[in-house]
């Protein structure tokens, strides 16, 4: 295709061909098959018989230049100066010499302290958001919650002992940047926003009114100044207004809680993509290690490992055994809050006599 002409200051996306391992350049589009040597280590074979080994290591995502340079040192030593990050923030080292795999792994483990794994039917690195480290909206942390949870799940990262892969994500506000996953941890608010009427001049009031999905926000005047008011019984505590205007404070350190959602899947395999659904609500937002969340996640994982057939993702397993069995197996209570409301709610009810009795 013809090269796109960029404006003077626009650089565009970097030239990936200069960032690829030579074996990837040589065999681009000519790979034939792959094989798993051990969890975290794969070998790819090209049509001409070339082999490329890839070692995947879990990274903490947030890294100082000290760590970045250590990664580069290792890639220079074993990988001809190239490396890659996966979508779920693992770092991948590719190499052509089989005999270098063990020294490479030793270097990753001793110099970086990164675990090897995250491939196949394992728990990969947790997709997460910015949290208290650098976001303007969060009600909980992200990187710390991931660190605490992955400490707990390290065996599941380093081994492939599930029926299929398990993707986990966390989100630190109701915008849910962490998105759908097999298991997702999100924070929830429990009352209408508190309005700082003295600071409303920094916001565009029509936008604040218009963004409310529940039509709960109305223009108002307080002490002669234009502001808004919230009809509390209409509010569903989503925080859309808070993203629009920091004076609509939705967070509350005393009442915000965490919930766990299950069954999200982006892959089109078998039944196709699916949204995640509520499993557990009302867990405490308990830094620095959120032990209640870890325990609930482990409970779900144990039931999934025990009950799912090979290749079933968490959502497919629940779909087959039914939600009744899911709650039986995990011991979590099913409550009225698990039942959908809103415009499409009835499509989630059991619209048949298909009942496990």
């Amino acid at each position: 295709m013809s090269a796109t002409k960029l404006a003077q200051r626009d650089q565009g996306a970097p030239d990936y061909t200069k960032c690829l391992h030579p074996a990837m350049v040589k065999n681009y589009g000519k790979w034939m098959e792959h094989e798993r040597i051990r969890p975290g280590v794969l070998v790819y074979t090209a049509e001409n018989g070339d082999k490329l080994y890839t070692v995947r290591a879990g990274s903490p995502r947030t890294m100082s230049p000290i760590t970045i340079r250590k990664i580069c040192d290792i890639a220079d030593r074993y990988c001809e100066g190239f490396l890659r990050f996966s979508t779920r923030t693992n770092v991948e080292f590719s190499l052509t010499k089989k005999e270098d795999i063990e020294p490479l792994i030793a270097a990753i483990e001793t110099e970086l302290g990164f675990p090897i794994g995250g491939t196949g039917a394992s728990i990969s690195n947790i997709a997460h958001t910015q949290g208290w480290l650098h976001c303007n909206l969060p009600a909980t942390d992200a990187a710390g919650a991931v660190k605490a949870l992955m400490d707990d799940l390290i065996d599941e990262f380093e081994n492939e002992n599930f029926p299929n892969r398990v993707k986990i994500s966390t989100s630190c506000c109701q915008i849910n940047c962490g998105r759908h996953s097999d298991i997702a941890i999100i924070v929830q608010h429990h009352h209408a926003p508190r309005i700082n009427h003295n600071n409303m001049q920094i916001c565009e009031l029509p936008k604040v009114v218009a963004i409310c999905p529940a039509a709960a926000i109305r223009p108002s005047v307080v002490d002669g100044n234009p502001t808004v008011e919230v009809v509390a019984e209409k509010c569903m505590y989503c925080g859309a207004c808070h993203g629009q205007c920091p004076s609509m404070e939705i967070r509350d350190a005393d009442t915000d809680s965490l919930s766990i959602w299950v069954g999200g899947k982006g892959a089109n395999t078998r039944g196709g993509p699916s949204l995640m659904k509520l499993a557990v609500w009302g867990l405490p937002n308990n830094p620095p290690r959120w032990p209640e969340v870890s325990e609930a996640v482990r409970t779900i994982l144990a039931a999934y490992r025990e009950g799912a057939k090979d290749w079933e993702r968490v959502g497919e397993w629940i779909e087959r055994i039914g939600w009744q069995r899911f709650f039986e197996k995990t011991g979590f209570p099913f409550t009225k809050y698990h039942i959908e409301d809103g415009p499409n709610a009835m499509w989630t009810y059991n619209r048949s006599t298909h009942v496990r009795i």
Partner: protein, 429 residues
């Protein structure tokens, strides 16, 4: 929890008893890393101290604001600390989004260059990568943001998207290292990034627009539920079957394994086993990749490859989750003309959405509001039954061809069913 022995985080300004509890354990600790780094960059100690207060009070201390590099309308996520009096180095502490190489591949030379620039101008903290598809560089004040952006650009890096703009594109590793990829994901990502760089740098949309690109239906780039426009690799015609390897697989694993894990798991029941051969009803294969994943040496995507393009996914805020649905069932993506077809399609969809969408309305929300039929007509795309799971169930329809015209009595459409000549009816009986 015991600290790691090699922890060198001894900065006397640090006071982080809660964060210290995130230093032990087997998973690599960002706290230990940043503590060590705080000896080089004192503002990182302030960052950790503020984070410690967040842990203590379960409260956040950042306020968002807007900062733009000259000529750009996005790419900087500007943050001001609410505790600037206590932590003066955090008064302005911004993130720069940097477009990474497609597929997140790096040479160490490029990655070192990125780290060097970020260290020189800011706090040097890198996040690889954000869920936005960007490389994130943290910790710049206003002036150093401008200086870092200039040096990044001088070194061939560019700022990522933010706000109501095209966001940085993201793709899987694709043909660089995967036999399942059905098209060149990296080339497509770089082409679209550069072609639409103006829309990425200078926000002019109703709201954000994300394009993510996966080489096959397995969707390693998280495109289907993580982007407004997933471009997904697929093929037409028969899949490739190596019956010798099928026989080997059946001998190794047993026929029951193949029935349980391949035959019965096909969503359209289009695969069956006969002796030691697999038979595929290719006409009914929906290219879900499951059987290929299980028997990846014996089965491969077909040879006539291209993409399926979907549209409309977003997470829950406002109207609830929307999922992507098919907008182009199959498009070749090889020649220059193919890429022109793709950009022509994107241009038309963007134009209709931005002419008619509401403020803060993602394209999926827009389609949910106006209906896919209206959207297709507005973009000049022919309706195709592969775009729906079923036809409609509601009988209340505005049939333009059958409507009696406007209230002034002027008939705007011809012919009308009740206006036809009787012999037409007879002739059809």
């Amino acid at each position: 929890m015991a600290k790691k022995e090699d922890d060198k985080g001894t900065n006397p300004g640090l006071n982080t008893p809660l964060l210290d509890q995130l230093e032990g354990g087997p998973w690599p600790s960002f706290v230990s890393d940043l503590k060590q780094w705080s000896e080089t960059k004192p503002q990182v100690a302030q960052l950790l101290n503020q984070l410690e207060e967040s842990y203590e009070n379960r409260w956040n201390y950042w306020t968002g604001t807007v900062l733009n590099v000259s000529g750009y309308g996005g790419g900087v996520i500007a943050r001001l600390s609410d505790k600037a009096e206590k932590y003066p180095d955090l008064a302005e502490f911004h993130t720069i989004r940097v477009i990474p190489p497609p597929g997140f591949v790096y040479s160490t030379e490029r990655l070192r260059n990125l780290a060097d620039i970020c260290e020189k101008h800011g706090a040097g903290i890198l996040q690889l990568h954000g869920l936005t598809g960007d490389a994130l560089a943290l910790g710049f004040d206003n002036e150093s943001t401008f200086a870092a952006a200039e040096e990044l650009m001088a070194n061939g890096w560019d700022l990522g998207g933010s706000g109501a703009a095209l966001r940085s594109l993201q793709c899987c590793v694709g043909q660089a290292r995967c036999e399942m990829a059905c098209f060149d994901t990296m080339k497509t990502t770089r082409f679209l990034t550069n072609h639409y760089i103006d829309f990425l740098h200078r926000p002019e949309f109703m709201y954000k627009f994300k394009i993510k690109i996966s080489g096959c239906a397995n969707d390693c780039a998280n495109a289907m539920i993580g982007s407004d426009m997933p471009i997904m690799g697929t093929w037409r015609g028969p899949m490739q079957i190596d019956q010798e390897k099928v026989a080997e697989y059946i001998e190794e694993k047993g026929i029951e394994h193949v029935i349980d894990n391949v035959i019965t798991r096909c969503p359209t029941r289009c695969i069956s086993v006969k002796g030691k051969q697999l038979l595929v009803d290719d006409e009914n294969c929906v290219r879900c990749m499951h059987c290929i994943n299980v028997m990846h040496k014996a089965l491969k995507p077909g040879k006539d490859q291209g993409v399926t393009i979907c549209l409309g996914a977003k997470r829950t805020l406002k109207i609830g989750d929307t999922m992507s649905s098919v907008i182009v069932p199959f498009l070749k993506l090889d020649s220059e003309k193919d890429f022109e077809n793709l950009t022509d399609l994107i241009d038309r969809m963007w134009e209709f959405w931005n002419d008619n969408g509401m403020d803060h309305e993602r394209i999926g929300e827009f389609i949910a509001r106006v209906g896919l039929g209206t959207f297709l007509e507005g973009c000049g795309i022919e309706p195709d039954p592969r775009m729906v799971q079923s036809t409609r169930t509601s009988p209340y329809i505005n049939f333009e061809e059958l409507a009696p015209g406007n209230f002034e009595g002027e008939r705007t459409q011809q012919p009308k069913a009740w206006n036809r000549e009787p012999e037409t009816r007879e002739s059809t009986s």
